[in-house]
C-alpha cells in the first residue's frame, strides 16, 4: 500500500496570506476604493477582505452537487466514468482548499440510478496512492463492494458494476482502502448515489430541484485555507466548522413548496441531533435502506456517521421572508448552525404530495438462523486498538459465515465511552431492540448503519441476500474502523 499524503499541488503550497496581500497592493495601484465597491470584486484577497469572518454562517447558498451523465446507455446499462483525483475547492471565501475528489470536486458528483437498470461506474485512480470505491448501502456482488483489500492502484481503473436490484434508497459512494479512510473521506472522497424506483413516483414525492441530497461533515482549517486534520483514535476527529455540500453552514432559498431533503452524515466521527427552527415539523419518509412503512413526523432526529434520513418539509404555509435554521442541538458554539431555509415567493402550484398512510410493506424476514454478540471495546496496553469481540481486523481471517438467504440476530454491545455507528457491507438489517429504550419508528425500516450509544446493546437482524462472498462489517467512526474495528464475514451458499 502506498502511503497517504494530504492533497496538494503547486498552488496550494503558496503562502495564501502573503500572496493575498500582494494582490491588495496591486489593486490599490490601479483603482480607488470606490471602484472596488462599484465593480464586482473577484480576487481572492478582496473577497477575504470583504468577509467579516470566513466562518460566519448563512453567507453562501447551498451548493448542489452536479449530476453525473452516463457516457453510454446502451443495452439497458448506464455507464459512468469517474476520475478520482486532486482538486481545489473554494470553501472559505477567497481561499482555495486542496481536496481529493471524484472528478476532483467535493462532495463528488451525484449519480441518479434507477431500479432495474444496472450501472457500471468506471473509476480511474489518478491519485498517487491506492484507493477503491464502496457503494454504501448497496446490494452488490462481493467483487464490486470495495472490500478494504480490493484496491485500485495509481494509474489503474476498475469497472464497478451495480445491479440496482434493490428498492429506492439514498446510497453513497466513498473510499474504503484499509487504514486511511479517516483521511481520504475527510479530504473529500464522498458522493451521493440516489437510487429511484416506481414506488417513489406513485407516491408523488418531490422531484428535480425539490429533491436535494444534503451532505454534512465537520471540518477544521489551516491559515492557508487547507483542511486541518488531527488523528484522534479515541474520540475520532472533531472539526470546529460544519460544511454542508462543501459550504460553511449555507442557506437555501426555498419556495413555498414541499422539499425532499436527504441528509447524509459524512463526518468522520461526529453525531448530530438535527432540529428545525423552534421544533417545526419534518416528515421522515426514509432511512438508510429506503422508504419507511409509514411516514413519521419528527421535530428532531439523531444522525450518526454514515446514516441517512430523508424528510419532507412543507414550506407552503410560511410567508416569504421567513428564515428558519436547521440546528445541531448536540453541537458546540460553532457547530450548532447547520443551514438556514429562507422562504421566497414563486414556485407555482405543487404537484407533489405529503404521503399519508402506508408507503411500502417491508418483507417478512425468515426466522433467525444464529445469533452473535459483538462486544465493542478499546484494547489498551502497549498499543491502542479498537476491537469487535476482542479482535481487530485481519484480512486473512473470516470471523463469521452466515448462509445465503438466512437471517441472524446480531447484538452490538458497547461498554465503551464512545458512539459506534456499526455498518454492515452488502446487506441490510432491521433494528429489533435497543437496551436504552424503544426503537424509534423512524428506525424500523431497512438500515445498513446503526448508532450504538455508550453503554447500550442494540440487536439487529441482518438478511443475507442477495449475494454470497466476502464482505466486512465495521465501525463507521472512521478512526475506529481504520484502527482496526472491522471484521470479515463470508456469506456461503
Amino acid at each position: 500500500m502506498r502511503q497517504f499524503r494530504p492533497p496538494a499541488d503547486a498552488w496550494s503550497r503558496r503562502d495564501f496570506m502573503r500572496n493575498g496581500s500582494y494582490s491588495v497592493a496591486l489593486l490599490c495601484t490601479f483603482g480607488s476604493t470606490s471602484s472596488l465597491k462599484r465593480d464586482k470584486v473577484t480576487t481572492s484577497a478582496a473577497r477575504r477582505a470583504q468577509a467579516a469572518s470566513p466562518f460566519k454562517p448563512f453567507q453562501r447558498d447551498l451548493p448542489i452537487m452536479p449530476e453525473l451523465e452516463p457516457v453510454s446507455r446502451r443495452n439497458g446499462v448506464d455507464v459512468y466514468e469517474v476520475d478520482i483525483k486532486e482538486g481545489l475547492a473554494e470553501i472559505l471565501p477567497g481561499f482555495e482548499t486542496p481536496i481529493y475528489g471524484y472528478e476532483g470536486i467535493y462532495p463528488g458528483p451525484t449519480i441518479r440510478a434507477r431500479k432495474g437498470r444496472p450501472a457500471i461506474v468506471r473509476q480511474r485512480n489518478r491519485l498517487s496512492f491506492d484507493t477503491n470505491v464502496h457503494l454504501h448501502g448497496g446490494h452488490v456482488p462481493a467483487k464490486h463492494d470495495g472490500h478494504p483489500m480490493d484496491v485500485i492502484q495509481p494509474g489503474q481503473g476498475f469497472d464497478y458494476t451495480y445491479p440496482n436490484d434493490q428498492d429506492a434508497a439514498f446510497l453513497w459512494y466513498h473510499d474504503h482502502a484499509h487504514g486511511r479512510t479517516a483521511r481520504t473521506l475527510y479530504y473529500g472522497l464522498v458522493a451521493s448515489y440516489l437510487l429511484g424506483d416506481e414506488r417513489e413516483e406513485e407516491l408523488e414525492l418531490p422531484q428535480g430541484e425539490y429533491d436535494i441530497p444534503i451532505v454534512i461533515a465537520d471540518h477544521a482549517f489551516n491559515r492557508d485555507g487547507s483542511f486541518r486534520y488531527a488523528e484522534n483514535v479515541d474520540l475520532g476527529f472533531r472539526g470546529d466548522t460544519i460544511l454542508v455540500n462543501g459550504a460553511v453552514s449555507p442557506r437555501l432559498r426555498v419556495q413555498r413548496r414541499i422539499y425532499r431533503l436527504r441528509f447524509l452524515n459524512a463526518s468522520n466521527a461526529r453525531s448530530y441531533e438535527l432540529r428545525l427552527g423552534n421544533r417545526r415539523q419534518m416528515l421522515q419518509i426514509a432511512s438508510d435502506g429506503g422508504l419507511l412503512e409509514r411516514p413519521v413526523a419528527r421535530t428532531s432526529f439523531p444522525l450518526h456517521p454514515a446514516e441517512r434520513i430523508e424528510v419532507l418539509i412543507d414550506f407552503r404555509s410560511f410567508r416569504p421572508g421567513s428564515e428558519i435554521v436547521l440546528q445541531n442541538t448536540a453541537g458546540e458554539a460553532t457547530t450548532k448552525a447547520v443551514m438556514r431555509f429562507d422562504v421566497v415567493s414563486g414556485g407555482g402550484s405543487e404537484e407533489a404530495r405529503m404521503p399519508r398512510g402506508r408507503m411500502r410493506t417491508l418483507e417478512k424476514l425468515p426466522e433467525p438462523n444464529a445469533s452473535h454478540r459483538w462486544d465493542l471495546s478499546l484494547l489498551t496496553g502497549t498499543g491502542v486498538q479498537w476491537q469487535i469481540a476482542n479482535r481487530g481486523f485481519d484480512p486473512n481471517r473470516i470471523d463469521v459465515r452466515p448462509r445465503l438467504g438466512t437471517t441472524e440476530l446480531w447484538q452490538w454491545h458497547n461498554p465503551s465511552e464512545r458512539v459506534h455507528p456499526m455498518h454492515l457491507h452488502g446487506f441490510l438489517f432491521r433494528v429489533l431492540e435497543r437496551s436504552s429504550g424503544v426503537v424509534h419508528p423512524g428506525e424500523r425500516a431497512w438500515k445498513d448503519t446503526v448508532g450504538v450509544l455508550p453503554g447500550e446493546t442494540v440487536t439487529v437482524q441482518p438478511w443475507f441476500i442477495p449475494y454470497d462472498g466476502r464482505f466486512v462489517f465495521h465501525c463507521h467512526s472512521l478512526e475506529h474502523g481504520d484502527k482496526a474495528m472491522m471484521l470479515q464475514l463470508e456469506v456461503v451458499k
Binding site: 496570506m17 407552503r316 460553532t334 489498551t380 491502542v384
Partner: protein, 234 residues
C-alpha cells in the same frame, strides 16, 4: 497553563544554574484532553528529569518515543499514570501520544547551553480557528400565511360550442376550482393554478342553465370565500 509556566520556569532555572555542578531539575509536561502537550517543547540540561502527567484527563493517553535516540513506551490509561524519564545525554528527543499522534507530539531538547528559538510554522500548519460562534437566531421573521385568498372580477360566458369560459382574479397564488352545477348535480369540474387574473375553459356542456361554484385555495391551504356565478348556455 499554570503547569506549563512551572515547567518553563523550571527549564529556565535549569539553564540559569547550568554552570553550577550537579543540580538536577524536574520538568513537568502535562498531557491534556485538548489533545496537546503543555508545553510541547522543553529545554533541559543533561541529568534533568521530565515527568509527564495526565491528572484529570478523560481520554486515553500515553507517551511513546518518536526519535531513534531513545526508547520509551509508557503505560496508558484514563487517566494515565505519571511517567518520568531522566535524560543523561545531550540531544533532541521526540515523543508523542500514540492515540493522538497528529497533535500530541512534543520534543525534549537536552543541551548544556540554551538552543536558539524554533522558526514559526508555515500557514499550512497553523490552525485557522472558527471564530463565528455567536448565539444563533433560530427563527427570524417567520410568519405563517393565515390570510384567505380573495376572488374578484368573476365572469362566465359562452366560449364556442358547448363550452364556457370563467374569468377571475385571485389575490395570491392559489388553486382555483370551478364546478358547473345543475340543480344539485355537478356536471363538470375544472381546476387551474393562478396568481392574479386567470381563466378556465370548460367543454362538453349541454345547453341549459348552470350555477357555477368558484373556489380558491392558497399554498398554505387557506380557502377563499366561495363565489357563485350563473350562466345560460343556448
Amino acid at each position: 497553563m499554570r503547569r506549563a509556566l512551572i515547567a518553563l520556569g523550571a527549564a529556565a532555572a535549569g539553564f540559569g544554574v547550568a554552570a553550577a555542578p550537579a543540580q538536577a531539575d524536574t520538568v513537568v509536561i502535562a498531557g491534556t484532553d485538548a489533545l496537546v502537550w503543555e508545553p510541547s517543547l522543553v529545554d533541559i540540561k543533561p541529568g534533568d528529569t521530565v515527568t509527564w502527567t495526565f491528572a484529570g484527563t478523560t481520554q486515553y493517553h500515553n507517551v511513546w518515543s518518536a526519535s531513534p535516540n531513545w526508547s520509551v513506551q509508557s503505560p496508558g490509561g484514563v487517566p494515565a499514570p505519571d511517567f518520568s524519564y531522566t535524560f543523561e545525554a545531550e540531544g533532541t528527543y521526540d515523543f508523542y501520544c500514540q492515540v493522538h499522534p497528529d497533535t500530541m507530539r512534543g520534543t525534549v531538547r537536552v543541551a548544556a547551553a540554551p538552543p536558539p528559538p524554533p522558526p514559526p510554522p508555515p500557514p499550512s500548519a497553523q490552525p485557522f480557528g472558527n471564530d463565528a460562534g455567536e448565539p444563533l437566531t433560530i427563527e427570524s421573521n417567520v410568519k405563517l400565511d393565515k390570510t384567505r385568498p380573495r376572488l374578484s372580477r368573476l365572469s362566465a360566458r359562452r366560449a364556442g360550442k358547448r363550452a364556457a369560459r370563467v374569468r377571475f382574479r385571485v389575490s395570491e397564488q392559489s388553486d382555483v376550482t370551478v364546478r358547473f352545477k345543475r340543480g344539485k348535480r355537478t356536471i363538470k369540474t375544472a381546476e387551474t393554478s393562478a396568481d392574479g387574473v386567470g381563466t378556465i375553459r370548460v367543454r362538453g356542456l349541454r345547453p341549459g342553465s348552470y350555477r357555477i361554484l368558484v373556489r380558491a385555495t392558497d399554498l398554505a391551504g387557506n380557502r377563499a370565500k366561495s363565489r357563485t356565478l350563473r350562466l345560460n348556455l343556448r
